[in-house]
Symmetry: C2
Subunit: 267 residues, 2 copies
């Protein structure tokens, strides 16, 4: 059974792409057949795999706009056990074009359906918005992970995000759940950060046993600590496991991948 | 002569709002009559001044959509020498509504015109996009400052931003210039960061004496170093000069405000 994870946050620069690339690489290193899909017109995800966009190669845009091209044509190899579908800047046009079509929230689900059985886990890197591309991700996802910072302003965006999740779960994807927040660029010494994490913990605790998609959501542990190597790795076209496999950033993403997997099979 | 500065970057979470609030506070402390305008529906700017949005009070949305209300009605006092116009989430609707009107890039300029002479400097906090609200800011601005990080990915967004500046300068606002980039959350020890700064310096050096709006642009100094107090201050409704006036973050923004002022009157 393929697990589909959407990494979502309408706020920019919070660690969605860094987390998608490095969790994907961690799952692959653990032996899972992993597909990573870049749904962001900014197209940063492929940089972590050393891929520069080539004008003639199919991308996520073809997935949405070119039904005659088989979905498997868009999948490239990144590493052992790790495949990806790159984005390109033209994907920005898709949001406008799709808005006019009926059933447009289901296109990603339909296009990925034929390839799902080739993978154990699919990760979807979302753009910083709650628009058509993100809704497509939510329509196919089993679980949502919200990369964020343990900072005051981050809490303010969370309710709007959960509102969107609820709408999609009720209207389009009953299987949708929220796994929780992934703390990125975390400053573990900061007392302000600790206070924000406590507030997030108690926020989610309130919803246990409710009928809401985040009833089992939590602050995922460990947090991913701020680590300059995580920012440097894509400039060399590498995941953290290529660039600095013994650094704290690699340890954090490896441990987080295991924590996420443990949630899939409660014993 | 009132200087209007637009703080712009289509990327999210790069330090636009933190910089607008704290540069505004720094100018006010230096004795300049300062107006700060929040053009972002996320409405984070007022948090730095301890202001929570009140349902009945006019905001930037009224500036755009309610011509019968005088612009001065929307201006509130933040501190001595410091005034602001808050935003609200409804401003998100403005982007859609305005797109249908002729002359819609000039609305902010027309609405601020009656109050300009009351201020020495006006700072415009832009949303993370190059849409209608940002174009309105560019149409009235004298100079653009680009908050960004000294990181590989940040360079990739800069060209698109400058393209938009050029379009506005040629078609709508001949006075528009780019002052340069403001390095936020800067890690001064990082060799990767140093390499990115060097690349930015030489990028701008290429355009000296060109006819382009960024011909005098530079990497502004000092950089604003990463400092957790800058993230904590808004959670207490304070600028950095209230919250921690002797910390590195306050020193950096104070020095940066002076560097920006020095550019206005070359001797
Ligand atoms: N743990 C970390 N430590 C240090 N830097 C980090 C860390 N995680 C991410 N970064 C850096 O922070 C910046 C933003 O991260 P990233 O691009 O992953 O965010 P994003 O949410 O995908 O942004 P966008 O909304 O623009 O897609 C990048 O320059 C990245 O290299
Ligand atoms: N120098 C700094 N040191 C530490 N944290 C900082 C610094 N500058 C900004 N931050 C924090 O980084 C986050 C993003 O900053 P900010 O909100 O100013 O960015 P922005 O560009 O306005 O974001 P948006 O695009 O969402 O409007 C905030 O939580 C802020 O408190
Ligand atoms: Mg991203
Ligand atoms: Mg902002």
């Amino acid at each position: 059974h393929t697990r589909v994870i959407a990494l979502l946050n309408q706020k920019g620069g919070v660690g969605k792409t860094t987390s998608t690339a490095n969790l994907g690489a961690a799952f692959a290193l653990a032996g899972l057949r992993t597909l990573v899909v870049d749904l962001d017109p900014q197209s940063n995800l492929s940089l972590h795999f050393g891929h520069e966009p080539a004008a003639d190669q199919p991308t996520v845009r073809d997935l949405f706009m070119n039904p005659d091209l088989a979905s498997s044509e868009m999948i490239r190899v990144a590493r052992e056990n790790l495949w990806f579908i790159p984005s390109d800047t033209e994907l920005a046009l898709v949001e406008g074009e799709l808005a006019l079509q009926p059933n447009m929230q289901h296109i990603l689900a339909e296009r990925l359906a034929p390839v799902m059985s080739s993978f154990d886990v699919v990760l979807l890197d979302c753009p910083p918005s709650l628009g058509v591309l993100t809704v497509n991700a939510l329509t196919i996802a089993d679980e949502v992970i919200v990369p964020t910072q343990a900072q005051y302003l981050a809490l303010r965006g969370l309710e709007k995000l959960l509102e969107t999740v609820l709408l999609v779960q009720r209207a389009l994807n009953p299987r949708l759940t929220v796994a929780g927040v992934l703390l990125c660029m975390h400053e573990s010494q900061s007392s302000h950060g600790k206070a924000v994490v406590e507030e997030m913990d108690s926020y989610f605790a309130k919803y246990r046993g409710s009928e809401l998609p985040w009833q089992n959501a939590e602050v995922l542990r460990p947090a991913v600590r701020r680590n300059i190597k995580l920012a440097e790795a894509p400039s060399f076209g590498q995941t953290i496991f290529d660039y600095a496999p013994t650094c704290a950033g690699a340890a954090d993403y490896r441990a987080l991948a295991e924590a996420i997997r443990r949630r899939w099979k409660p014993l």
